[in-house]
Amino acid sequence: MSADDAAFLASLAPPGRSPYHRLNPLTKAVLASVESLGAFLIGGYLGPIAILALVVASAAVAGIAGRLVRISLLLTLPIAISVVLVSVFTRAGTHILFSIGPFDATSEGVDFAGQTLVRLLAISTSIGLFGLTTDPRSFVLDLERRGLSSRFAFVALATLEAVPAMVERAGVIQAAQRARGLDTEGSVRARLRGVLPLVGPVILSSLTEVEERSLALEVRAFGRPGRRHLLWRIPDSSSQLALRAALLFLLLVAIISRLAGIFPSLP
């Protein structure tokens, strides 16, 4: 293979904008998993807040701290409101802080709400950091290089394409229906009536394509047993390998600690 070809192939891999972006996707995935599982296992306030700080610091290295915090808050907000309303006012507790009508706000309820909130924030920011700094396609292909079956890799990659493609298809069908006079704007009921006739054709047209698409794939030797030699690779390093091992060990320690009752019990 010529040097030109080698350079071309290298250019197909997505670039990394920051040192954090350039980490191998598996490392970032392990980080996200250990961080979110850790926040959940440790419980209390100190653990999740420490993890939250770590995640935001990593995001700062990646140059996306502001964006990450904004998106995580947005995602967690609806649940946060529910958590607060439900837990504060209805958890059984003895220390009543104030009352609104028949509902008593207990300090136990506030405590529970607080712990749940920091846990949720830690989970959504750590996973969000992974999502914002990792090209999903590279992640899947890296997994395949490490031994993931090419069929699983296909399913993951194809889903990546299938979801936006289906939304686009829905848009096309909706435009066609609108051209035939179907009202799609307006009150909730009108919108519902506009969405319902969409569901059938979108689902059915996606499904009937399965036959031709699977034939086309089989013609291209899909499902042939054995490994494939992928065109490009995301670099990995021994220090990242060590980091992943250390993180998984920490996770194991956390699981054992939780089972042994070392951490504060979840309310």
Binding site: A29, F40, I71, L75, P78, I79, S82, V83, L85, V86, S87, T90, R91, A92, F112, A113, T116, I123, S124, I127, G128, G131, P136, F139, V140, R151, F152, F154, V155, A156, A158, T159, E161, A162, V163, P164, A165, M166, V167, A170, R191, L192, V195, V199, G200, I203, L204, S206, L207, T208, E209, V210, E211, R213, S214, L217, E218, F222, G223, L266
Partner: protein, 364 residues
């Protein structure tokens, strides 16, 4: 065929062995009812032993198959190219419907398992299970915004169970359309369903929701309780009526459907959806209460709050909410899948690994 029976037998023996060993190891199982919930105290232990038994039985089944044939055909046959191509589309259907429907309508009908159930029915239980698990994991870890949701991944076990059940029901023919059934058989079908719902309701739902340790009918009809038993609180009487009305309404709806469409398949789909809903609620409530504090950000949170106010702990409250919303969601979803199967051509379905058993033998 004989080989399959051997495998099934060996697996069954393994299951029974685990059960016996498990019960002996644990000692006597406390079957006295918890005064708050009406559920036996040893419930968790029973469930754990059953789950371990199932897993061991599955492993033994596969090991026997490997010893017999050196392959895992019962699993790999479910994953031909057509299934592999279908799975991403099914996952996309899950995610898009799950996001739009739950956002647009505030009722607890999520419709985010349609793809999983479709794959289960068409390709088999393992394929359905894999679809469910992958769907939730991809939804959280692989999809970028705006489609990504960080809350799906912990529930992947529920999705796996949904796929498994759908595959089993599909193989057993629960999704077959049985058009032009004579009225006599329709009536029998409706009666059987009504009986099943009545049994589940009277011995399961009603005591659980009303925290009743005494006669449920006394509770519902304000009869005088026996000497020394406290009178039931009004909120439980109302709850009891609510649940009873829901169950009766569902059965009436099914009877109407049977009468209009004259397709006995609807009765099978109804029962399958109900079972799936109950099992899903049982599996998801620990995840929901421990990971998310029982909160989902939708209207059902008010229900959880109400149950907690009435004195239930978080886990029980979440389970009660789940047992109300999940059967509704899953039954509706099962009917949607039934409709989709009806709309797809026979030729298309027959090419999938389990297609023929799912919709019945082809004519002509």
């Amino acid at each position: 065929m004989a080989a399959t029976w051997v495998r099934a037998l060996v697996a069954l023996v393994a299951f029974v062995v685990v059960l016996v060993v498990g019960i002996n190891v644990v000692g006597a199982i406390d079957l006295t009812k918890d005064p708050n919930t009406g559920v036996p105290v040893g419930f968790n232990t029973i469930v754990t032993i059953l789950a371990i038994g199932l897993i061991v039985a599955l492993v033994v089944y596969l090991a026997t198959e490997y010893a017999q044939t050196r392959r895992f055909d019962s699993i790999t046959s479910q994953f031909d190219t057509r299934t592999i191509v279908l799975i991403p589309i099914a996952i996309a259907i899950n995610i898009i419907l799950g996001q739009t429907v739950s956002a647009a309508l505030k009722i607890p009908v999520y419709l985010d398992s349609i793809g999983t159930i479709l794959v289960g029915v068409l390709a088999g239980p393992i394929a359905g299970a894999v679809t469910g698990g992958l769907a939730n994991l991809i939804w959280t870890y692989i999809l970028p915004a705006p489609f990504q949701s960080p809350y799906a991944a912990p529930f992947f076990i529920v999705a796996v169970e949904i796929g498994l059940l759908a595959g089993i029901f599909g193989r057993l023919g629960f999704f077959r359309s049985r058009p032009d059934t004579p009225p006599a058989r329709l009536a029998i079908g409706a009666a059987v369903v009504a009986l099943i719902v009545a049994i589940i309701g009277i011995y399961g739902f009603l005591p659980f929701y009303t925290n009743a340790e005494t006669n449920v009918f006394q509770l519902l009809f304000f009869a005088q309780p026996a000497e020394g038993v406290p009178a039931p609180a009004p909120v439980f009487v109302i709850l009891g009526w609510l649940v009873a009305l829901l169950l009766i309404g569902a059965v009436v709806g099914l009877i109407a459907l049977l009468a209009i469409r004259r397709d006995l398949g609807a009765a099978y789909v109804f029962v399958a959806g109900l079972v799936c809903g109950i099992v899903s609620a049982l599996i998801s409530f620990p995840i929901s209460s421990v990971v998310f504090g029982g909160v989902t950000g939708s209207g059902t949170d008010l229900l959880v709050a109400a149950f907690q106010k009435a004195g239930d702990d978080l886990g029980t409250a979440v389970l009660k909410q789940g047992l109300l919303s999940d059967p509704i969601d899953k039954t509706v979803t099962y009917f949607v899948v039934f409709a989709i199967l009806g709309a797809l051509s026979r030729r298309f379905i027959a090419r999938f690994p389990q297609g023929e058993s799912a919709i019945g033998l082809a004519e002509a």
